[in-house]
């Protein structure tokens, strides 16, 4: 199934793109998507312990399942305000 990955701030810079379309296997979770991203862009891997995630613009866990067409966002530590 095909999903969209959204990246922000430093993760966007490290991957060189704000938005990636990727295929992931049935049964994939947010963590599956992250593992694939980190394999493709090893520089993002150290962020695993400090990021959070969203699926279809709702806060999600790494255990949250993703579906065909899902939009999976990875959020580096935030700094609004």
């Amino acid at each position: 199934m095909r999903i969209t990955i959204l990246l922000f701030a430093r993760l966007r810079d490290l991957a060189g793109s704000p938005r990636l379309e990727r295929d992931v296997p049935e049964g994939a979770t947010v963590d599956t998507v992250w593992q694939a991203l980190a394999a493709e862009f090893p520089a993002v891997a150290p962020y695993r312990t400090s990021i959070s995630a969203a699926v279809d613009a709702d806060y999600a866990r790494f255990t949250t399942p993703v579906a065909d067409g899902s939009e999976v966002a990875f959020l580096p530590p935030v700094s609004g305000g």
Partner: protein, 162 residues
């Protein structure tokens, strides 16, 4: 100019319009207090001279974050009405990046709610700032955004009421 209570905008923030928004639709005289918080881009940070800040946001989730924060405010301070605008894109030094208005029949709740909201925005809103300073630039990285983190919520409440 934004017309909803919780918004992101690429335009300069206007305090007076936010005050009008937070009071809109309520009978005249219901609110005895409106407190405002403005976050302003400082010209110096960590002993570096800042040239400008750029704010990037995941907009649909940022609006949800603001709604979550608004819900938390309603639980703690049921009489408070909240308006919040956050700027995106390049913000020159000296200009506001965020404006929060809290309206309430009495001032104590309005002051507390305003403080609570800025703490929570910094905890959970999916917004990032890139600091351009003399000699370089860097993304600023603060809190891991987790709206379910009860300890962070309690810390914000403690600061608001401290």
């Amino acid at each position: 100019m934004p017309t909803t209570l919780l918004s992101l905008t690429g335009d300069p923030l206007d305090m007076a319009s936010v005050v009008r928004l937070v009071e809109a639709g309520e009978p005249a005289g219901r609110f005895g207090a409106v407190t405002l918080f403005l976050g302003i881009v400082r010209g110096e940070n960590l002993a570096r001279r800042v040239v400008e800040l750029e704010y990037q946001a995941y907009e649909p989730l940022a609006i949800k974050a603001f709604e979550i924060i608004s819900g938390e405010v309603a639980q703690h301070w049921p009489t408070v009405r909240l308006a919040l605008q956050h700027r995106t894109g390049l913000v020159p030094i000296g200009e506001a990046s965020i404006v929060i208005a809290a309206a309430s029949p009495h001032r104590a709740e309005a002051f507390q709610a305003c403080r609570y909201v800025i703490e929570r925005v910094k905890h959970i809103a999916p917004i990032w700032k890139r600091e351009v300073f003399q000699g370089g630039e860097a993304w600023v990285e603060g809190a891991t955004a987790d709206p379910t983190d009860a300890a962070a919520r309690e810390a914000a409440y403690g600061r608001a009421c401290g």
